[in-house]
């Protein structure tokens, strides 16, 4: 039971963290609950579909379909996160102003909601498909009796994942409003960079990206990225215990590009008159 719990929990941590962050950054925006819940629902649905067709997906493109699929959906998440940050760099001030006027509830942020809903859907979809497979496997294959305890373990893993969401959200909303934007911007940029290097990792695994494959370091003895803490850092800052040179380069490049675009598109100095 404990084994199942840990496996499932490890898979859902990433999605749990991302949902928590998405909820924190959209706090106060009208209708965000629907978008985030919609993202989760779409992700769960997608995960079941992917789980069902895993052999077809996996076998596509000479056996690297799964990797290409993962890389593609991760790229979408990276772009949506980058988009969110850049959009906020431009409109964050308006949102803050409107929040003060309208007391918490804002409409301005609605256009970034869709992007974050997609990020949530992608995160749930990716990790969820493995959870779906794992739980389904338990469900059909185990001997009667042992299956139930494994299933309980798996479900407890899911519940723990939801706790991660609650903790992340609870921690982030405790940050005073004027720092929140800065903190979440950095958080989302790091998240995006980590996902981008994961995407490249899949392309490397598919043997599609072949340059600079050498391992940059091996820190699996110090902190394995399959441990719970390693997994959390893996999501939050893209920690890997054996990154390739290429993955590291993409990580840095993504951070640089997002930072650069945020600067370029940042809101100009406050206009003299409001509208």
């Amino acid at each position: 039971m404990l084994g199942a719990l840990i496996i499932v929990f490890r898979e859902v941590i990433e999605a749990g963290l991302i949902v928590g962050i998405a909820m924190a950054v959209t706090r106060g925006i009208v209708g965000r609950g629907y978008y985030i819940a919609g993202g989760v629902a779409a992700g769960v649905f997608g995960a079941c579909v992917v789980g069902m067709f895993i052999n077809t997906i996996s076998g596509a493109f000479e056996g690297v379909g799964q990797e290409l699929f993962n890389a593609a959906i991760l790229s979408i998440a990276v772009i949506m996160l980058a988009w969110h940050n850049i959009w906020m760099a431009r409109h964050g001030r308006e949102i803050a102003a409107e929040m003060r006027q309208a007391g918490e509830a804002v409409r301005t942020g609605a256009s970034t909601l869709m992007g974050l809903a997609i990020v949530v859907a992608v995160a749930v979809l990716r990790e969820g498909s493995e959870v779906a497979l794992f739980l389904y496997g338990i469900f059909i294959a185990s001997a009667p009796g042992s299956g139930a305890s494994l299933l309980v373990g798996g479900i407890m893993g899911l519940v723990l994942g939801a706790c991660v969401t609650a903790l992340t959200y609870g921690g982030l909303v405790r940050i005073p409003g004027r720092y929140l934007f800065g903190v979440t911007s950095v958080l989302i940029a790091l998240l995006a960079a980590g996902l981008a290097s994961q995407a490249v990792g899949f392309l490397e695994q598919a043997n599609v990206v072949t340059f600079l494959p050498d391992q940059l370091w091996d820190s699996s003895n110090i902190l394995s990225d399959t441990s719970i803490l390693g997994r959390v850092l893996h999501t939050l800052v893209g920690y890997s215990d054996h990154p390739s040179v290429m993955e590291a380069l993409i990580y840095i490049a993504t951070l640089a590009v997002i930072g650069f675009l945020m600067k370029i598109f940042a809101h100009p100095a406050p206009a003299p008159s409001v509208r």
Binding site: I54, E62, A82, A206, T210, S220
Partner: protein, 123 residues
């Protein structure tokens, strides 16, 4: 407002380019050597690898085929080979591997790491 829209458009164009760059690398490099590559076949049964030790020539791309005969899914994983891939119950996956330096590479089923372990000897 207009300049904002122009900005958004520029941003979208930039992102599209970046995505194109990411995808563009795919087509050229990967496919060429798929035909003549050596291949390793591994089977998972009762959460054990058969064979538990396989050999491939060094410095040549090759493929690994993992067949899972068990009724539960497995995740074929290796830190040193840098792979991680789910193998559904009673199915087979293929991994296109890059050329490797000689060495002993450990792999395992991430869902049953306690019982499954195997080594790939590259020489």
């Amino acid at each position: 407002m207009r300049s904002h829209r122009a900005n958004s458009r520029r941003l979208v164009a930039f992102m599209a380019l970046w995505l194109a760059f990411l995808c563009g690398e795919q087509g050229l490099s990967g496919r060429a050597f798929a035909q003549e590559a050596a291949s390793v076949k591994l089977t998972l049964k009762n959460h054990h690898f058969e064979p538990a030790e396989a050999h491939v020539p060094a410095n040549k791309p090759f493929t690994i085929e993992v067949t899972n005969l068990d009724g539960t899914p497995a995740e074929f994983e290796s830190k040193t080979l840098r792979v991680e891939k789910v193998v559904a119950a009673e199915s087979t996956i293929t991994l296109q591997m890059r050329a490797l330096a000689p060495g002993r590479y450990r792999f395992f089923d991430d869902y049953h790491e306690d019982t499954t372990e195997g080594f790939l000897i590259v020489q």
